[in-house]
């Protein structure tokens, strides 16, 4: 059965890119969220196998989402995809239980490769 993915990004463009790449690689995109509130509700409701997470969202940081989902004991693998290449954010994310991260811009191959390592 295809692995289920939730895509979280406030840019429709970025969501489309990620969606195409993941579907190409055989994933099933079960949902997309453009803000943190939606993301958390969708993630807890659908319990996907994988969540791709942008860090800067209109209502909160990807780190906030990550923290909340971990507090809720969600077992989905989470990969952060963010233009913010700051080491501090990545460190913080890893501390909070992030499974992997990817810095924009990226190629579809880089994305599937990073995901392949955690799933």
């Amino acid at each position: 059965m295809a692995k289920k993915v939730l895509i979280v990004d406030d840019s429709l463009y970025m969501r489309s890119i990620i969606k195409d790449a993941l579907e190409e690689a055989g994933f099933e995109v079960i949902g997309q969220a453009s803000n943190g509130e939606e993301a958390i509700d969708l993630a807890l409701d659908s319990e996907p196998d994988l969540i791709t997470l942008d860090n800067i969202l209109p209502d909160m940081l990807g780190l906030d989402i990550l923290k909340t989902l971990k507090e809720e004991d969600l077992t989905s693998k989470i990969i952060m995809i963010s233009a913010v290449g700051q080491q501090a954010v990545i460190d913080e994310g890893m501390n909070l239980g992030l499974d992997s991260y990817l810095v924009k811009p990226f190629t579809p191959e880089q994305l599937t490769e990073a995901i392949g390592q955690i799933i």
Partner: protein
């Protein structure tokens, strides 16, 4: 107390809190520094959260908890509100409402996203950026106690004042639940116990009570009618008085203030105005006027529709208003007044007004009338076309009002409770919709009459006049009949014609409405007509014989005849006969369908 009952009480209170929060938020939005509103919001949320936690409604409790934290900081002056945050807080209140509704219907509402969002808001408001890995339950508990303590202190101060007053004026009867004990200082007030002066009762219990009283009233009529025939009338005077007092008391219990509905509009007006970028002020009048709770419930959607329309189509944008020399801020006024058995609710705006000529054009476009017919009508009559099914005066559909729900739906709801709707408009100055609603649904005055030796009733809210005319002054027009009444030509129908029909097919017979008329041979024969006004049209119902005017308690028809045509319900008369109540709206609809259209 049973779990379910507790839940009902919680829900009633939570619903009330939710409405208050909406009102207070609207107030706070106008003035972010409004201390009174901040305090009130804090207190209401605190109570709501506490109750929800006690009931085990984790979702309401946790979102409530965060809102409480945010407001706790605001009232301490640690953070100031910004307009941006405001919309988010409003959404959080919406979420609370959704969750309360969810508790009611046993549906889980996703809330953890909102909770995370609120945490972020709180953090941003405080200007801290930190990611604590663990947040001890202890610290939040401690904070809770702190809040509890300050609240308690405040409430004590308020309570001691008000308690002194109530205790001095009246000694409460010692039954019920001591509600205020949590606010009291054990040492000082051990001896004082106060009781709430109100009890909450589910509407279903009131409905049952009213039903029983209704049956009692009918039984009373029957006994008194029997008594009268054997000459013991005097003995029954007391019975008569007490039952009718009881009936009115029970009806009184069901009355609620229209404010319960009006206050919901602060939020609706604010939301619609903000979407449309308009400045609108809401003015409420007569909020203390009382009306049957069920009537209010049935028309509430219509009211929402009217108010939304008023904001989105009635009021002009600020720029346009300024150019017209009006105040930038438009005003919508909701006003209730009471008039005997009726409550009049008016929705007034000081905006565009309705252009009768535009309506004329639209009516012709939509084929609702011929250009000649519409040209001969006065502006006031033309405007009434907006209540016609299939008419929508809006040129461009907007997200707020263009929902395909037309004014005809509003009219239907008003009809359903036996009310009337009217419209007054002055171009450039504004529009007023006025809804005349029965203050109580249970008892209505009705006119009794006889057709085919059977008694029927029609609510007085429909009747305009009772006239008697000669057969020769009734004329055939098309497949129908007309006569003149006060210089107007009105449609006339023999009720017997439709009640004698065996099946639906017979109802469609185009000769139907001439049958009884043709059977009367004497042109001088007197014909009794009850003139009713339905949908702003006058119709004359021909009856065999008129009886008296009487207060009746109408009950809906039971199965299997609940969908019977032309009949809205039934009542039992003093003589024990069942009397059917005419559904004038349904008859009018039937009559003005193309098959029989006479005008």
């Amino acid at each position: 107390m049973k779990e379910e009952e507790l839940k009902q009480i919680f829900l009633a209170e939570a619903q009330d809190s939710f409405e208050q929060l909406n009102r207070l938020f609207t107030q706070l939005e106008k003035n972010h520094a409004d201390r009174e509103a901040t305090e009130a919001i804090f207190r209401i949320i605190h109570t709501l959260k506490g109750n929800a936690a006690a009931m085990g409604f984790e979702d309401v409790a946790s979102v409530g908890h965060l809102l409480e934290d945010i407001f706790s900081e605001i009232r301490k002056g640690n953070i100031t509100l910004t307009s941006m945050v405001f919309n988010d807080l409003f959404k959080a209140i919406d979420k609370l409402g959704e969750m309360i509704e969810g508790v009611k219907v046993d549906k889980k509402v996703p809330y953890k996203g909102m909770r995370a969002k609120l945490k972020v808001i709180l953090r941003n408001l405080k200007g801290e950026i930190e990611y604590e890995h663990t947040q001890g339950g202890e610290s939040s508990e401690k904070k809770d106690k702190e809040i509890e303590a300050t609240l308690q202190k405040q409430l004590e101060e308020e309570l001691t004042e008000s308690q002194k007053e109530t205790l001095a004026s009246e000694q409460p009867v010692p039954i019920g639940i001591p509600l205020a004990d949590e606010f009291m200082d054990e040492e000082e007030k051990k001896s004082k116990i106060t009781f709430s002066d109100f009890v909450q009762v589910p509407v279903s219990k009131l409905d049952t009570l009213l039903n029983l009283v209704g049956e009692l009233a009918i039984e009373k009529d029957r006994i008194i009618a029997q008594g009268a025939s054997v000459g013991v009338t005097n003995e029954y005077t007391r019975l008569y008085r007490i039952t009718s007092d009881l009936q009115y008391s029970v009806m009184g219990v069901r009355l609620v203030q229209v404010g319960a509905l009006f206050h919901k509009f602060h939020r609706i007006v604010r939301d619609v105005a903000s979407i449309e970028n308009k400045k609108v002020n809401l003015d409420l009048q007569g909020t203390e006027i009382e009306i049957d709770r069920n009537v209010l419930q049935i028309i509430s959607d219509s009211m929402i529709h009217l108010v939304r329309n008023a904001v989105s189509h009635g009021i002009e944008g600020p720029e346009e208003r300024r150019k017209k020399g009006k105040k930038e801020q438009g005003t919508i006024q909701l006003r209730a007044t009471s008039d005997k058995e009726y409550v009049i609710i008016e929705v007034n705006d000081d905006g565009y007004g309705i252009d009768a000529n535009k309506i004329r054009k639209k009516v012709v476009e939509k084929n609702l009338a011929t250009p000649e017919a519409i040209a001969s009508l006065s502006d006031d009559d033309v405007v009434k076309f907006i209540f016609e099914p299939g008419f929508s005066s809006v040129d461009n559909v907007t997200s707020v009002s263009g929902r395909g729900v037309g004014m005809d739906v509003v009219k239907k709801a008003v009809d359903a409770v036996g009310g009337k709707i009217n419209i007054k408009t002055v171009l450039g100055q504004g529009t007023t919709f006025s809804l005349s609603l029965p203050s109580s649904m249970a008892v209505k005055s009705a006119l009794l009459f006889i057709i085919n030796n059977t008694e029927y009733a029609i609510p007085l809210s429909f009747t305009e006049a009772v006239i008697s005319v000669k057969k020769s002054s009734i004329h055939k027009v098309g497949s129908g009949l007309v006569t003149s009444h006060l210089d107007d030509t009105i449609t006339v129908m023999f009720l017997r014609d439709i009640f004698d029909c065996k099946d639906n097919e017979e109802l469609q017979n185009p000769q139907l409405l001439h049958r009884s008329f043709d059977q009367i041979e004497d042109p001088e024969a007197k014909i009794n007509i009850v003139v009713v006004s339905v949908d702003n049209k006058m119709i004359g119902f021909v009856v065999d014989r008129l009886l008296q005017q009487k207060e009746i308690i109408e009950k809906p028809l039971g199965k299997p005849v609940e969908n019977a045509r032309f009949i809205s319900g039934a009542t039992i008369l003093g003589n024990g006969n069942v009397c059917l109540v005419l559904d004038a709206n349904d008859i009018s609809e039937f009559l003005f369908k193309p098959t029989f259209a006479t005008v």
